[in-house]
Symmetry: C2
Subunit: 277 residues, 2 copies
Amino acid sequence: MASGVRAPRAAATAADGGTRASAQSVATVERAADVLLHFAASGRRTLGVTEIADDLDLSKAAVHRILAALRSRGLIEIDEQTRRYSLGPMSARLGLAYLDQLDVRRLARPELVALSRDTYETATLSVRTRDARMYVDQVTPDREVIMSVSLGASYPLHAGGSSKAFLAFLPDEEIDAYLARDLEALTGATVVDRAALRREIDEIRAHGYAQSFGERQVGAASVAAPVFDHRGAPAAVISVCGLSERFAVESESCARRLLETTGKLSRLLGYQESKGE
Amino acid sequence: MASGVRAPRAAATAADGGTRASAQSVATVERAADVLLHFAASGRRTLGVTEIADDLDLSKAAVHRILAALRSRGLIEIDEQTRRYSLGPMSARLGLAYLDQLDVRRLARPELVALSRDTYETATLSVRTRDARMYVDQVTPDREVIMSVSLGASYPLHAGGSSKAFLAFLPDEEIDAYLARDLEALTGATVVDRAALRREIDEIRAHGYAQSFGERQVGAASVAAPVFDHRGAPAAVISVCGLSERFAVESESCARRLLETTGKLSRLLGYQESKGE
DNA sequence: AAACAGCGTTACAATCAGCGAAACAGCCCG
DNA sequence: CGGGCTGTTTCGCTGATTGTAACGCTGTTT
């Protein structure tokens, strides 16, 4: 069953995940990128040739050749004993290079530290990637029970404080486009009703920050607000997050402190308060 | 001069950077990996098509196609205005996924925090990648003048405290192999004399830690020691680093505290003290 | 032990996808 | 306006990449 029926080669551009990057492309490289990213997406640390081939609907031979190529550049490693593959150090280099060039991250770092210190909770930084968002930094407080998010993981734009903080401050047409999609529920508390989401977006705009109780992660809560760039677009979102029980009482004071931070950073990025409606 | 004389396609496997990953490979994917990694290696944040083509000796058309493929998967982004390319968010995802699966990093994190707190200096964690090493984590102290290293950057194994700590505890044949290479000087203080390096390796083994004053970075100093895995091989190196002037007096006390940390972590990784010669 | 079932890896020849050269299309500067 | 840059596209040629199928190998099952 390993090499079952497979679509003919030509039908490549079928899925077209988001950006149609000008038809002039290289199918082999796209496949290689899929293989590479599968290590991050699958959640499993090591993968075998057959496993990848089945998951991505490629032939074992193709996967094997691609892995050999990626391996020659250190993006992928092989465990000589088990013959299983995992991400290599050059992958880390790529990621850290990307993060290094995110100036909002460099600017935000000391503010995250201060924010976490003052609230005794975890402070996070997220950036948007089309119709998802990703944590790119966090600072955890020095106490016993803390919340820790996983950097690099992607989440939809409608579930959780940080996500909704992005969504609420996008241009209306982008909001409409996003809401037209399927809205998956990550927990029982995730808001998937479109009308309810629209009401909440209005509320978030009015208050300047979003909050969530268990929408993305059961037992967790957060307040989140965007950092605006010079064009008034949300360049990043900062959140303060922790356990639901604590936030029942803390949430308002955290939000006040949070807005100080995002306001300061927005000004650093050249945002003019006055422009805001 | 853009598309000058280029070697014929067949001569691909010429360079063979290190791991000859079984001839069964895909040249196109190797080229794509080179393009991708060039963003991290070149140091420049944005690159143009011609720039990449010249640097890597590829045709503009090939680079353009590769970039389109990488772009379709979010590994590369394009600035629509300037038509220049940069790393995309999926690159971050890759890197963070790699770091997440490094168990030594997860284990070391709280120890780095404690180490930095106790020494009032920066604590770093490095892993080895064949004949180089790379910072994968750091914790900076809460004081005005601090040292900060750049995560993801690679350094040779003979320059600086962390590097020498790796080198000294490798198997003899690997040390010999490394010393047979060209030893580049990063600063005026970098030790490039082979005999002197061998003497220092003996010293490092005797003391259990390495130190450096400005060997990798002018004005900086460090003490560094390896964390051993269950086989007795150095799985990572931890360093305490800061400004040279401070280390003139601090170095010994930092080293004592450092060895507590690395000892504890080595035991966590299953290292049996007794085995050590 | 022997057969099996799974893995990763390699060989092979057909073919189609990727190739480079060159033309094209913007942009900026003098 | 024209030259010199970009990035992008076109277009046939061709050989690199492809999937199938066979190969070892390891571990488990019978």
